[in-house]
Subunit: 592 residues, 2 copies
């Protein structure tokens, strides 16, 4: 059953979990052909086991026993579902357009006086099953995971009502993660399509998925998604709250918002974007911007603040929100409602005033043991990116930074997955823990299935590039496995090791479709008569044993120095960074 999913990606892939301490931690093994010098071990990659169940049935509750086993949650009746949760059409019809018919889970909540967050356990010195699972996935010590979660430097978004999810960790000492946004809007999309996008996004490697639905059937779409999602699900509850007041921002109230948060927490949402840093006094700071407020949540709250000339109800009621989040282990994604929507507005007072406020809220949340990540921009010129990491680190106490790109130019609609991947790789190298993908449709339309895939693959490569640049243990092994396969003309291995085997193979076959071309020692770039890779191999084969006779050349001292320094410089930079952060250097720690 499980293998079906893994094999779908490529025939050389197989589901090959790490089995240890009673845990089954998904990994994928990629079979490799032999090298001229001998056989190759399968190459193992981090990958979600994936939504291998039928969509109508949903996934098993991987974490159910862990959650109940801790004895600190109880089954509650919970908030009754209201048909209006799915919009006026559903209310009229008496049902959502496609009701969830799979099993429903009992609603869990912390027992009176308990906090059930991973941060709470970590601070008690407890290494949970979730932390052990994560440590096996990340090939690190469980104590490292616990320390990171306890200090707030990493989060494990794991609502007690979403036991289907495979634990994963977001923090800059770990692999850089990516998020894919899905969700319908008023003009398009059905529940089935969204579930399909979820499965598609996780198939290609999304580490979390946000359901940003703003149209009809919001509650039921989310139910389908949660019951089928092996990755944490994030939402922006204000979107649904706005639907409940017919899209009129002024009509929002704290009570409607809180009710929506509870509704979603009971369903199992793992993290929620809350734009509590959009304070009344900051709104005028955006008036002379080129693109004003581009965040939907931000503009809703700004509109509300101005209409009532009152401080934000999210800011005012933040402590109560923390209490709720602690009861389900919902993590905050503190939203950057005032993020720049154009390079002209980057790093302006509105953006940074909000970031500083968010940092204060982050520390308040930590008092409740609630996990937090911090959202970041947006649109930022390449030379102005790194200061975002630095201020986030300084003001938000090192909470994981989670950025949308950033896009480094505004002039390429249709290619904003690329303009943003440039910024994303750069900001992740500088310390950002999770990257929210941008699809080619950004600024133009809603992503379809192809766009979702393009966005995910683009962000996987950006995240991996950052991991390589950070010297993350093992990251470069993947590149090396690919390059060795390339040098040895192992074409099938090159496809299998690609982030997107289908595209790699179809591009190859477009020029040389015949099967023999996949074992031939040449490719279409040079053709069979001349091939630089082959010449290079010939040099090695033919002259390899004579290389000693040729003498070791005299490398100018400065050349040797640059090459040597360079390799070391990367390590040193990382070392310093982590010393500053009071953490252990993963370069040393994880080299086991």
């Amino acid at each position: 059953m499980a293998d079906i999913y893994a094999q779908e990606i490529h025939p050389k892939h197989s589901y090959a979990p790490i089995i240890q301490d009673g845990l089954e931690v998904p990994e994928t093994a990629i079979q490799l052909d032999d090298s001229p010098t001998g056989p190759n071990e399968p190459f193992r990659v981090y990958r979600t086991r994936g939504p291998y169940a039928e969509p109508e049935v949903g996934l098993p509750g991987l974490r159910s026993d862990w959650i109940t086993g801790r004895g600190d949650v109880e089954v509650i009746e919970g908030r009754r579902r209201n048909l209006l949760d799915d919009g006026t059409r559903a209310a009229k019809r008496g049902a959502a357009s496609e009701e969830w018919r799979g099993a429903t889970r009992p609603v869990l909540r912390a027992k009176e006086g308990k906090r059930v967050t991973q941060m709470h356990y970590a601070r008690q010195g407890i290494i949970t099953e979730e932390m052990k699972f994560v440590a096996l996935r990340e090939h690190c010590d469980p104590e490292k995971v616990r320390v990171a979660v306890a200090s707030g430097r990493a989060i494990i978004p794991n609502n007690v009502n979403h036991p289907e999810s495979e634990p994963m960790i977001i923090g800059n000492q770990f692999l850089t993660k990516i998020n894919a946004n899905i969700g319908n809007s008023a003009v398009t999309s059905s529940i089935r399509e969204e579930v399909d996008k979820l499965r598609w996004a996780t198939r290609w490697g999304a580490d979390t998925v946000m359901d940003l639905s703003t149209g009809n059937d919001i509650h039921t779409t989310r139910e389908w998604i949660l019951r089928n999602s092996p990755v944490p699900i994030g939402t922006v509850p204000i979107y649904q709250a706005l639907e409940k007041v017919n899209g009129i921002a002024e009509d929002l109230t704290w009570e409607i918002f809180r009710d929506t948060v509870i509704e979603q927490a009971e369903q199992g949402v793992d993290y929620m974007t809350v734009h509590a840093g959009v304070r009344l006094p900051f709104v005028p700071l955006t008036a002379n911007r080129v693109t004003g407020i581009v965040s939907r949540g931000g503009s809703i709250m700004a509109g509300w603040c101005l209409a009532h000339h009152k401080e934000s109800f999210l800011y005012e009621n933040f402590d109560e929100l923390c209490e709720i989040f602690a009861q389900y282990d919902v993590a905050f994604s503190l939203g950057d409602g005032l993020r720049p929507g154009s390079v002209a507005d980057a790093n302006d007072p509105a953006q940074f005033a909000e970031l500083k406020t968010i940092g204060e809220l982050c520390k308040r949340a930590w008092e409740y043991d609630v996990q937090v990540m911090i959202e970041g921009p947006g649109h930022v010129p390449l030379n102005m990116i790194q200061v975002n990491n630095e201020k986030e680190e300084q003001w938000c106490g090192g909470a994981p930074f989670y950025t949308l790109g950033p896009l480094v130019t505004d002039i390429a609609p249709g290619y904003d997955h690329i303009t943003s991947a440039i910024g994303a790789a750069h900001i992740a190298m500088g310390g950002t823990a999770m990257l929210c993908y941008v699809t080619p449709k950004e600024h133009l339309g809603l992503p379809n299935k192809d766009d979702v895939k393009t966005g995910v693959i683009t962000y996987k490569l950006a995240a991996h590039a950052a991991d390589v640049a950070k010297g993350h243990p093992g990251a470069r092994d993947w590149d090396d496995a690919m390059s060795k396969a390339r040098f040895e003309f192992r074409w099938h291995d090159q496809f299998a090791l690609s982030l997107d085997p289908d595209t790699a193979q179809s591009f190859h076959d477009e020029t040389l479709p015949a099967e023999p071309a996949k074992t031939a020692h040449f490719c279409s770039m040079c053709g069979p008569k001349f091939c630089s890779m082959r010449i290079s191999q010939d040099i090695r084969d033919e002259f390899g044993d004579r290389l000693a006779d040729l003498g070791i050349p005299e490398i100018p001292a400065d050349v040797a120095a640059v090459s040597a320094n360079d390799a070391i410089a990367g390590e040193q930079e990382m070392a310093e960074e982590f010393r500053e952060q009071g953490s252990q250097v993963y370069l040393k720690e994880q080299s086991q």
Copy 2:
């Protein structure tokens, strides 16, 4: 006639040359709709006038009178075309597969004892028509151009036998340029297809084009390309030389190579890649690399050196090559034959030993007043990129750096336009002057027309992102024009201002195809009921006059400081960089 080309891109585009001092310098004007506050001036962008003639006819000789007017060239009979220049098939057939039937130009060469390079004129204090043309295109002072060319910090690749080309400049004080590679190989492609790719690449914004043909009809393909190219054409002459010895590297000789260089110089090739830095003693340094030597030119020369156990004939005869180049104004693109082909091999002794040697050759070429640019990698992790700019600057006396990407990871074949655009934007921000594009087919197959376009647009956005990051005067204006159009829902303007209007519009129309949606104040992301941009505008409209009453908020001093510093920091960094380089800061100089 001229307008036909410009209008092809978008109905709002028109050919709007700068007419000054008897020069007609192409620019494109983009008509903009009115803002709510009033009409908008057309937005002007740098763009090649383009190949607006019929391919069978070729372009007029824009520079012919300038070249002959200087009185330092003479018409020569020239090397006779040999049918073997087009390969054995052409020789058997008695003709290339499609002979060039347009007008042929008389072959020009410097008169005895003369040097006809732009560098030579610049050093004599002469501001040529080419330099004036370039200054108008770049909106800077002609003297700035002259100084940059005289010092070797910039080049204007302009063979006297390619009068069709519109002068352009490559140097890091000017707009970042991009190159598109085209060319057939033994397994595929026809002459027509290559001419089509040339026109297509320049249409989308390629600043130079390299013809890397390695198959049949090399000479005649190049003739078609040169006679139709408004941009400088580069080649790698060793590719054709290798064809002349049936693909056997050992059989190459200096005489065959020199003859090929003269053949191409007489046709009008503007710059040639020469791998003269691949010296015999460096070859063993590659033996333990993961991917050995991946440059075709590099591996040919390494193979030759080892087979004969002799120093490279390119290195040995470099002075004679300089003499030839000076007679036609061919610029060197000193090739990085030992560039890394995998991130594992980045910045190793082989690469840097070659770079240092290239720097020495660069200075030799400058003694002959020959223009030079320096090729760079390749595959380099993001954190190891900047040292490449620094060493190039140090060892090569500030000659323009011209890099292939670099790719920041090896694991995404099919997406290497993106893995390389990440590195390209980064290296260009750090001082690289021209970026050689990489298409999605890199490592897999030969690019088709779609791939060429994707590669060009991807590199245009990377180059522009770097210009914005460098604070290049006027660069951000384009982003601002786009963002204003976006904020005001001027959809047609957004399409017209895009690097790729067709794709932007088709993506928009995929979700909202009806014409009214292009004037509507919403888009498919949020739908008509709720739109953050509109809310933001509403805030401005509704509360704009009350903003003063709301009071200017107290921005924490550190927030204000970061925002203010940040804008200044970019300028300061650039200022320091250019002070170090002994140049004037374009931020000040060009702000006229």
